[in-house]
């Protein structure tokens, strides 16, 4: 079928472009110790606030640390936070949404009311409140952002599950004596993965932004650990003398967020059944 017809570049170009950008960021994050030219923590007071040069491609910060290296290590933190946060949202939201749709009735009403309540809080406010009660740390930031994602994933999972439940193969599964739990995990889950993955890619971009925002506010990664958010926060104080302190983490965020958004959009187009054939 499709494979035999050859690779349709046009259909996949957004996925490829997004995947490339995401790939660069992920590569930098995973291999930071090998990719980064310097340690992100090494101070060099003789090299404070130097502009881009052969030794420091993207300049140095107010303590003489290599900005490129810090931006690369920051990708690590961002990816970790986003990965855990999206996982929390994806797993929690999918379980809640599938359960609500499958059992219906009071179970569904109770679960979705709770989700509405959670959803009605502004995301950043919810994260700040959660951090205030859990304490500020990167781990808590991840959990807070993850909880913010649960309502969105649960709504999507519920709607997708409802659509799958109308399919005859669910009736067929019941007719051979399959249990509810098995129907949910074996029959329904694989059939709602595509929209969930699209949402996950978009959520990833949002998680990166949220983590940066929290770090910018001093609620995420704590100095001296580098994060795009706290680098921006520092850079703000040197906007005139050293604009690269703001531009570099800004660009890194931009590439990362753009990459995940393109990937999400592309996956949506590729997996949307209406666009097949």
């Amino acid at each position: 079928m499709a494979a035999a017809a050859g690779f349709d570049f046009r259909r996949w170009r957004l996925v490829l472009l997004g995947g490339l950008l995401v790939g660069i960021v992920l590569f930098a994050a995973i291999f930071a110790p090998w990719v980064a030219p310097y340690s992100p923590f090494d101070l060099d007071v003789t090299q404070m606030l130097q502009g881009p040069s052969a030794a420091h491609w993207l300049g140095t910060d107010e303590l003489g640390r290599d900005v490129l290296s810090r931006a690369i290590y920051a990708a690590r933190i961002s990816m970790q936070v986003a990965l855990l946060a999206v996982s929390v949202g994806l797993v929690g939201g999918t379980l809640i949404g599938m359960t609500a749709a499958y059992f219906g009735g009071l179970v569904e009403q109770a679960l979705m009311r709770a989700m509405d309540l959670l959803f009605s809080f502004p995301a950043i406010l919810l994260a700040v409140v959660l951090m205030a009660s859990l304490g500020t740390s990167v781990l808590n930031a991840m959990i807070a952002i993850g909880i913010v994602f649960i309502p969105g994933f649960s709504r999507l999972a519920r709607a997708s599950t409802q659509a799958v439940l109308r399919q005859q193969y669910i009736e067929a599964a019941r007719s051979i004596g399959m249990s509810d739990a098995r129907i949910i995990f074996r029959e329904i889950l694989p059939n709602i993965m595509a929209p969930l993955m699209v949402e996950a890619a978009v959520a990833f971009a949002y998680a990166v932004l949220l983590e940066s925002a929290l770090s910018f506010l001093g609620l995420g990664a704590q100095p001296p650990d580098p994060s795009w958010g706290n680098m921006l926060s520092t850079g703000r104080g040197f906007m005139a003398q050293a604009p690269w302190l703001s531009i570099v983490p800004g660009m890194a965020m931009f590439i990362c967020v753009l990459g995940f958004n393109l990937l999400g959009d592309g996956l949506r187009d590729v997996t949307d059944p209406h666009m097949r054939e």
Binding site: Q168, Y169, A172, I176, G177, R182, P190
Partner: protein, 276 residues
């Protein structure tokens, strides 16, 4: 009355439905989709249920599987072997489905899970009811597919449903239904979605299964031609009731009820003599 030869040979019917009613509550009163239906399927017998759209055929079949919509209210009795279906717990009922009792739906294409390989799906009843491993179930699926004349079953078990033609998908559904040698197969218009030649092959297959396994089959259709070709005994349903029953020969040669006569007359090409 007609004589059901198989009833004389064998002591007990496989399926015995008595005074079955299915009601759907409505804002005022309720709608009776099945109205006092009684029917029997004897061992090794293929019994047809025929009637126009909305006459309650599917609701009768779903009652037997206990798979009616949640809001439906059922009364009467249904016995499969010695089991009183309507009195079983949900867990007991689940053990029966796919094991002693199989269901073959109208549209095989949509009854197969698009994300699961054919072998896995055909073997699933063995995993559910016989605790077979994934591998063992798939290797049994190869035999089952061969038994329903799917060619190169070793290779085909690896396919996803969209790689199967309509006729092959229906064969796969039948193979799944046969996996545990059920006492009764309920087929709800299993050939409606297929073209005429493929339809004939599937009917032949069902007959073959009956002859080989002595399985009882309850066959729902609104196609008189199919009934005449396949069934031993026929129930004619109209507005939730059984209006007439009899052997296929008798129903086709000397229908008694006006509704049956009308049904026969509406398909004149099949039986030109009766129609004229």
């Amino acid at each position: 009355m007609d004589i059901r030869s198989r009833a004389l040979e064998n002591g007990r019917p496989t399926l015995s439905v008595r005074d079955l009613t299915v009601d759907f509550p409505k804002r005022s009163g309720s709608f009776r989709a099945v109205d006092g239906v009684s029917l029997d399927v004897w061992p090794g017998e293929i019994v047809g249920v025929i009637g126009e759209s909305g006459s309650g055929k599917t609701m009768t079949a779903l009652s037997t599987l206990r798979m009616l919509p949640k809001r439906a209210v059922v009364s009467g009795s249904i016995e499969l072997g010695q089991r009183r279906i309507l009195d079983l717990s949900p867990a007991e009922m689940r053990k029966l489905r796919g094991d002693r009792l199989s269901f073959i739906p109208q549209d095989a294409m949509r009854a197969l899970n698009p994300t699961m390989r054919i072998g896995r799906q055909v073997g699933e009843p063995l995993v559910l009811h016989r605790n077979l491993s994934f591998k063992a179930a798939v290797s049994r699926a190869v035999d089952l597919l061969r038994a329903v004349h799917v060619r190169e079953p070793e290779r085909r078990v690896e396919d996803y449903p969209h790689g199967f033609s309509g006729g092959m998908q229906q064969r796969a559904m039948i193979a799944m239904g046969l996996a545990l040698e059920p006492e009764l197969i309920i087929a709800d218009e299993p050939t409606t979605a297929l073209d005429v030649t493929v339809q004939a092959q599937v009917l032949k297959l069902l007959k073959e299964i009956r002859d080989r396994e002595k399985t009882s089959i309850l066959f729902i259709t609104h196609d008189l031609g199919v009934v005449s070709e396949l069934c031993d005994w026929v129930y004619v349903m109209y507005r939730g009731k059984v209006v007439e029953q009899g052997s296929v020969e008798r129903i086709f040669t000397e229908p008694r009820e006006d509704y049956t006569k009308m049904l026969l007359a509406s398909t004149p090409t099949l039986f030109p003599r009766e129609a004229s």
